[in-house]
Amino acid sequence: MPEASSTYLAAGYFHTYSVVGLVAAVGVLFVAVAFGAGRLLRPVAPTHEKLLTYECGVDPVGEGWAHTQIRYYIYSFLYVIFAVDAIYLFPWATVFAAPGFGGTTLVEMFLFIGFLAVGLLYAWKKGVLEWT
């Protein structure tokens, strides 16, 4: 009865995620109530001085935007490449040891890890993993 079981699966799926949705709704409600109650409880007495950006305690110079060297972007490249790879691990992980897979998938896994490792070694050799 493939049809019946898939209907059942779908029902379970929607039930699960509607509960998750309800939790999200409860969370939003909690935050809304907290902010609402906070609004009723707290004093409001703004002054010009108070509304200045605190920054480090001294009156701010210029705006919130400042020149700075962002060195993280190389990591973000690396990260995107690796993270996309890692996504494919999960579906594979659930079946790789099932009957009929075994040795072949193990070789595939070592190929996969090998690719990642070579990529990582290349980045390492190029010196992008160090700042100094």
């Binding site: 379970g12 799926y13 699960t16 509960v19 998750v20 309800l22 939790v23 999200a24 409860v26 969370g27 939003v28 909690f30 935050v31 902010f35 109650a37 906070g38 609004r39 409880l41 707290r42 004093p43 409001v44 007495a45 703004p46 509304l51 950006t53 605190y54 920054e55 480090c56 701010p60 705006e63 919130g64 700075t68 962002i70 993280y72 990591y75 990260y79 690796f82 993270a83 890692a86 691990l89 999960f90 992980a93 659930t94 079946v95 790789f96 040891a97 099932a98 075994g102 998938t105 193990l106 896994m109 070592f110 890890i113 990642l116 490792a117 990582l120 390492w124 993993l129 160090e130 700042w131």
Partner: protein, 320 residues
Amino acid sequence: MNDVLDVALRLVAVLVAFLVLPLVIGQTEHKVMAHMQGRLGPMYAGGFHGWAQLVADGVKFAQKEDVVPAGADRRIFQLAPAVALLPYLLVLIAIPVGPHGLVGTVVDAGLFFVLAVMGVGVLGSLMAGWASANKFSLLGGLRTAAQLMAYELPMLLAASSVAMAAGTISLPGILDAFHWWWIPWQIIGGLVFFTAGLAELQRPPFDMPVADSEIIFGAYTEYTGLRFALFLLAEYAGIVVLCGLTTVLFLGGWHGPMAGSLGWLWTLLKTALLAFVVIWLRVSYPRLREDQLQKLAWTVLIPLSLAQIALTGVVKVVTS
């Protein structure tokens, strides 16, 4: 009707756990840190060893004025604490506490769901840093984002090793498949997962995004009152979630003597033990520099987690 009641009960239980457990950990942190540093910690509020200190803090936070800097991006600034906090509530529903369906709800792709939702919390810090109109906040926000690059990957890889061992990505399913020898088998993955989790929570020694001696308080510098309190709550809820997940994935969750009736107690005990370790690390390690974390993640954690995957794969194929 029974079904509705059942779901409502689970929602209430999750909300209560979400509001109580972080406070318990916070109070424990006060006392444990104090004793490790040879002082008393809070002693006055509530009478007995200052047990009501955090309640008093909450009352204080609720009465404080809510200052939004004139230069800030108002809406984003005000929403950020909620974005930082709510993912942890969502994750809590999927963490199994005991056997026989003692879990908020069984999410089939639980492991995937949990890791994906936890990643959203970082957006809260980024929004706060971006919207504050404060250079130090912006730096803090960027450091938070950079930290994501460092820990997310080792975390994913270590978690997928457990999924390989269990042959499922449902969290209760993983626990059903658990055997005691998984603990030594998956120990490297467990250490990697826990370390990466500390970096996600911005806990010492990975608290560069809020490094007070460098960038005041990072993305949270401009926050006051209730909104600041929500950020703090997010940090401690994060500890609950990280320790709970490490327990479920690597320490066997509710497995233990008399698991049938006392399973939930085992989960709580293991989680509490890990939370203690989180506090312990805060007291004993100095803060790393931002690039030292990147280096640690890419040259130690990721190779280790890849090795764990290889080990898991070989053992699993050989034994099955």
